[in-house]
């Protein structure tokens, strides 16, 4: 059995102007000890997918349909209270922007211990001891549990956020841009740490990022998202070396590659679409140079093009 399976998830946001289809029919799965990368530009629905899994959507957000199976159990069918017990114990999140995600007037140790006391019913002392263990795990000196967030650097705060996410031994950890605000050197440290923890704890990790290079360093599988849909899904090798979707191709091309030619590639024309009124047919067609009549009218399905490799393009990579 897969650890986590998301099937045809649709999450919409109610706004004054109408429904924003932030996530529109997304499916993927994640196995124990594996890292799944969700990559895409801002507004493509990466974070919304993650928040849907943890049921942490803002009030305007609503999961319209779909299934989220955690070890076979549908999380969406659980009542609010039942899910509350699962959150953090089964599914936890490393939030984006560690700089602002911690409570500035509370000692960091207590912020972690709080979750432990609530979910694991530990006493204060037990919880603090466990927090110290967690600090050791994320390579922070355990005596720093009684420091305040402002006494930590950005990288250290991110480590605290990771410790917090791991507090109750979750099965699935979602990292929402965990390294985005950090320096390259600190980013490399954090990615190394995540890699090590993944092996030690055998957890499944969903890594949300806009940075393709992060994927190449730690992910096993990658979903490329565009405008609320998955356009390509495959192993990290397939995505980088044998991608089939024009968007994936352009996205990878847009990154400077020091092993390639030293010049700017051509940019992807236009902007990501407004999800209030997504384009008809294939959502990428207004920005795709190969689009034809079929792309404009008929929406492509995510078709299998190889082992563990799916592409949502009518022409399945014929152009690349």
């Amino acid at each position: 059995m897969e650890l986590l399976e998301v099937k045809n998830l649709k999450t919409y946001f109610k706004t004054q102007k109408g429904m924003v289809k932030a996530v529109d029919g997304v499916s993927y799965s994640l196995d124990y000890g594996k890292v799944l990368g969700l990559v895409g530009e801002s507004g493509c629905g990466k974070t919304t997918t993650a928040l849907s899994i943890a049921k942490l959507l803002p009030p305007e957000g609503e999961i319209v349909s779909g299934e989220i199976l955690l070890e076979g159990e549908d999380l969406l069918k659980l009542s609010k209270n039942k899910f509350k017990r699962k959150r953090w114990k089964d599914v936890s999140i490393i939030f984006q922007g560690a700089m602002s995600a911690l409570n500035p007037v509370m000692k960091v140790g207590l912020q972690i211990a709080e979750a432990l006391m609530l979910h694991e019913k530990l006493t204060y002392k037990q919880a603090m001891n466990r927090t110290k263990e967690l600090f050791k795990l994320v390579e922070i000196d355990e005596n720093r549990v009684s420091n305040y967030p402002h006494e930590f650097s950005g990288g250290m705060k991110q480590r605290v956020m990771i410790a917090m996410a791991l507090a109750c031994n979750p099965k699935v950890v979602i990292g929402d841009e965990p390294t985005t605000a950090l320096d390259v050197m600190v980013q490399a440290q954090i990615l190394n740490l995540l890699e090590k923890l993944k092996k030690e704890i055998n957890m499944g990790l969903i890594l949300i990022t806009h940075d393709l290079s992060v994927l190449g360093e730690i992910c096993d599988n990658v979903c490329v998202m565009y405008a609320g849909k998955i356009v390509e899904n495959g192993t990290v090798e397939k995505i980088f070396n044998n991608h089939k979707h024009p968007y994936t191709h352009k996205l990878i091309k847009a990154f400077p590659n020091i092993h390639g030619e030293r010049k700017l590639s051509t940019s992807i024309p236009g902007n990501p679409p407004n999800l209030l009124t997504p384009p008809s047919g294939c959502r990428f067609h207004p920005r795709c140079e190969f689009a034809d009549e079929k792309c404009r009218t008929k929406e492509p399905e995510l078709n299998k093009v190889g082992d563990h490799h799916f592409v949502a393009c009518h022409y399945g990579g014929a152009f690349i």
Binding site: M156, S213, A254, L264, I268
Partner: protein, 335 residues
């Protein structure tokens, strides 16, 4: 190539504000040494990148070059003239010729102004236009040059109606409307999506081609710096560790810090198990700088001399300078 900007031994220290009592009781004057002696030249139409982690002084150098922060020591020479002894009027002329593009287009544009007023502001400040017609015409031209075509469609919009990429183009239009010789671009694309980035960067490159604008490009992204710049300077704690031609820095850098940076440089490909030099710990604080070479506490190759002596920036081959005791003066001979 004539030099547009010449920075000579620039130092920028910031005093630390402390309580009154603390101030009179402590003998030591605490200062943040943001920039500790940087020299750099930027030729006509040249793009020089400053690369470093946060706190390395990149932005401070950028601001100091434009005379936006007071400098502690050193001299900025712009088109052959030192900024030091300039009076107010002369400085105003300098400001027409040197502009800045900021990092965050969501914050650098006044949300209450329409695009026309934002872009026209430099014209008004410098009293360069006299009629409304003239103003609109010049703003339109600037917008179109910045890739917002047709320009008149954007004049009466507010910044919040535009996307991030468009906003950054507006900011660029505001920077080029006075026909500058030199632009400091402080992380101009780091807030933008990958697909938008390239458009902004190629716009900057085009402007260089057409108008011969020189750039000081500030970034933390080494691979980006490599793609667009002629020269790259690697900064660490306010000092240049290594400077040279972009290809040399990427492919055959010498300084251990540059080595570490290039080894963790993001690459869009499968790089699991790649050999990476990950430096432990973090950049020390710039108040209490380490003795000797400021990189020695984190340097995998440090030896005794590094703790005592600060290395000078030494030319190891043509146009390639390194500040490291591993490459002492004269080592280019051995090579």
């Amino acid at each position: 190539m004539s030099d547009v900007v010449k920075i000579k031994d620039l130092k920028v220290y910031f005093d630390i504000q402390r309580g009154f009592l603390e101030d009179i009781l402590s003998k030591e004057k605490l200062q943040v040494k943001a920039v500790g002696g940087v020299s750099l030249t930027i030729g006509k139409g040249e793009i020089v990148s400053l690369v470093g982690e946060s706190g390395s002084g990149k932005t401070t150098i950028g601001k100091a070059v434009l005379d936006l922060v007071p400098t502690t020591n050193g001299e900025i020479v712009f088109m052959g003239e030192s900024l030091k002894n300039k009076n107010k009027m002369e400085k105003k002329l300098f400001r027409q010729k040197a502009q800045m593009i900021f990092q965050d287009p969501y914050q650098s544009l006044n949300p209450k102004d329409i695009i026309l007023d934002i872009v026209a502001e430099p014209l008004i400040v410098h009293k360069l236009v006299h009629t409304e017609m003239e103003k609109i015409e010049r703003v339109k031209n600037a917008l179109e040059m910045a890739g917002l075509v047709p320009g008149e469609d954007f004049l009466y919009h507010y910044p919040h109606e535009l996307s991030g990429g468009q906003r950054q183009r507006v900011a660029i239009a505001g920077a080029i409307i006075l026909d500058p010789e030199f632009i400091v671009a402080d992380e101009p694309v780091s807030m933008l999506d990958v697909s938008i980035r390239i458009g902004i960067l190629s716009l900057m490159m085009d402007l260089r081609e057409q108008k011969g604008i020189s750039y000081l490009f500030i970034t933390h992204d080494l691979s980006l710096a490599w793609v667009i710049s002629d020269k790259i300077a690697i900064l660490y704690l306010g000092k240049i560790m290594e400077i040279g031609n972009a290809d040399i820095i990427i492919n055959s850098c010498l300084h251990p810090y540059s080595h570490a940076l290039t080894s963790v440089m993001p690459v869009p490909k499968v790089s699991k198990g790649k050999e990476r030099i990950i430096l432990q710990g973090e950049t020390p604080d710039p108040i209490h700088l380490p003795s000797g070479c400021r990189f020695h506490p984190r340097c995998p190759k440090a030896f005794e001399k590094c703790i005592i002596d600060e290395p000078d920036l030494i030319e190891v081959s043509s146009e390639h300078f390194v500040a490291c005791h591993l490459f002492p003066r004269g080592c280019e001979m051995i090579d």
